[in-house]
Amino acid sequence: MKAHWHILVVDDEEVMRESLAVWLREDGYLVDTTAFGRDAIEKARQREYAIYFIDLKMPGGIDGIETMMAIRKIQPDASIIIVTAYATVDTAITAMKEGAQEYLVKPCNPQEISLLVGRLIKVKNLQRENSILRKKLTRQYSFQDIISKNAKMAEIFQLIREVASLRSTVLIQGESGTGKELIARAIHYSGDRAGRPFIGISSGALAETLLESELFGYEKGAFTGAASQKKGTFELADGGTLFLDEIGDISPKLQTDLLRILQEKKFYRVGGTEELEVDVRVIAASNIDLEEAVHNGKFREDLFYRLNVINIRIPPLRERREDIPLLAHHFIERIGHELSKDVGGISEGALKILMNHNWPGNVRELENAVERALVTCKTRVLAEEDFSFLNHTQEHRGWNAPTDMTLDELENQVIAATLHRTHGNIKETAGILGIDRSTLYDRIKKYNLPRT
């Protein structure tokens, strides 16, 4: 158990520093030493030490109390023991007031120091155990890769379990960034098709003819450039699940083709004469209201009813704010690991900012915000200032909206300005705007925008 714990000994006197370090190493701890306060602060930035032994009087630079205060800024709950050869009541009071756990007078009684270290390590072990239990709790609130303790989401999880092994089509509706594909994957991987392929395709990102050949494949020579036969996603997903994202964006012709394959389970490759039969479960998703699209004549009613056998409507993040802390911790852990950033948590204040934000881009926007904060943060805990860019967007609420342009013109200008700001970075732009990358590509095409 001890082998996990690192201790830092800060003392300008080498014999003092090394003798304590050796004694602690014999006790099985991993001990680093330094003679300088500034170096100790730098070390604290790089690693979380279980205990800091800091000498009160260190000549030149900063003394023990200042070192302790700086370390406490980096690690607010660090266990710090102030050590001194010249004990006075005043220094003891100052040390304790500034947050030292203990005040030791050297030379110390071995039993005293042993009990003290034992007590602090016991607390550290409890803290670690607590964080493991918290993680287990997160797992309890997660289904496949989806994390939530919201009642509506719990109903969705239950529905997923019930319908996972059926062949019925599923229609998932929800705002952009709510995790429609994750729900589709959860359905696939919870059912008896789990061992078969799951193939996702974003209908909105592709032109009609391209989407057609993607879905149904083509025969050699079906069109210019079709040098060989190609299987479509329906064939590739045979026995498994096909996830059709942004189904509301597909053309009337493709709507007809889809209806046919859903009804008869049969189709032709583009340019083909042989009728092919597949066993594919279709899960469709849309971020626009399909019922309304039907009402407006933009979406075939019969296709809508074919798709809408099982309906799942994912609530936006602002309607399940209780999930924000859970999700934030999950993203810190996952993205922190991906970025090799040793960030252990998030401050109360920062969490408050996240709780108060409106999240138009939903979970994806939250994920992007955490990633951005992790990239720029300099400490081991995400603080309020790391999320200042969110305040910035909130402040813009006070901005006076123009009253003399169409929504399309406004959208055009906002996207162009954001693209310009990110130097054409699609991922970042989509994150800021809280929309899918495919939606962004669609808008760039629509407004014929330059990429930078």
């Binding site: 014999v15 003092m16 050796v22 050590v83 110390c108 071995p110 120091i113 042993s114």
Partner: protein, 187 residues
């Protein structure tokens, strides 16, 4: 096979040295050799603390390790200290060659009690195994009867035995294998 050397610093009683040698042989299985006594550790004396610096003793010993010795343990009557602590029963180089123990605080007389020679000899035997254990890389053990358990007070020494527990024995065997591998690579 190399041996563990035992050496007296100044006047140290023969039965104490013999008890130490026996326990080291039993715990580690190394042949034991006695070196010529090295004299009182005046070089390690700290006039302010009126004690002897164990680190200074170890430095002194390091220059006097015989070529064919695996480990050297010095035994002294003087009270030892490290700068951070008020005293130590003994001190060793972790993963090193040299170690020392003090008999001063192992005697009942130090605590104002009547002398008890067998008890003092048993304590010396335990502390010798403990410090040489550190030179083989063993850290403190949580088993209170294992010789490698930490003793901050003499009653802790009395609670433990002069043998390594099962897990420390395994760690010791691994340490030996590692040392032999390294020696083989050097050759």
């Amino acid at each position: 096979m190399k041996w563990i050397c035992v050496v007296a610093l100044g006047s140290t009683e023969e039965d104490a040295l013999a008890a130490v040698e026996k326990s080291l042989w039993q715990a580690f299985g190394f042949e034991i050799r006695r070196l010529t006594p090295l004299g009182e550790p005046a070089y390690a004396y700290d006039p302010q603390r009126l004690q002897y610096s164990s680190a200074a003793v170890l430095r002194f010993l390091l220059d006097r390790v015989p070529a064919d010795a695996a480990r050297v343990l010095a035994v002294t009557e003087k009270d030892l200290f490290i700068p951070m602590l008020s005293f130590v029963f003994g001190h060793a180089q972790l993963n090193g060659t040299v170690a020392c123990i003090s008999l001063a605080r192992l005697r009942q007389e130090f605590y104002g009690l009547p002398p008890n020679r067998p008890l003092m000899l048993a304590r010396a035997a335990k502390e010798a195994v403990h410090e040489i254990g550190h030179t083989f890389g063993l850290a403190h053990c949580s088993d209170p009867v294992c010789s490698m358990s930490l003793s901050n007070e003499v009653r802790h020494v009395d609670r433990k035995g002069a043998e390594l527990c099962m897990s420390c024995s395994i760690l010791f065997a691994e340490s030996l294998k590692h040392i032999e591998r390294c020696a083989g690579e050097k050759r």
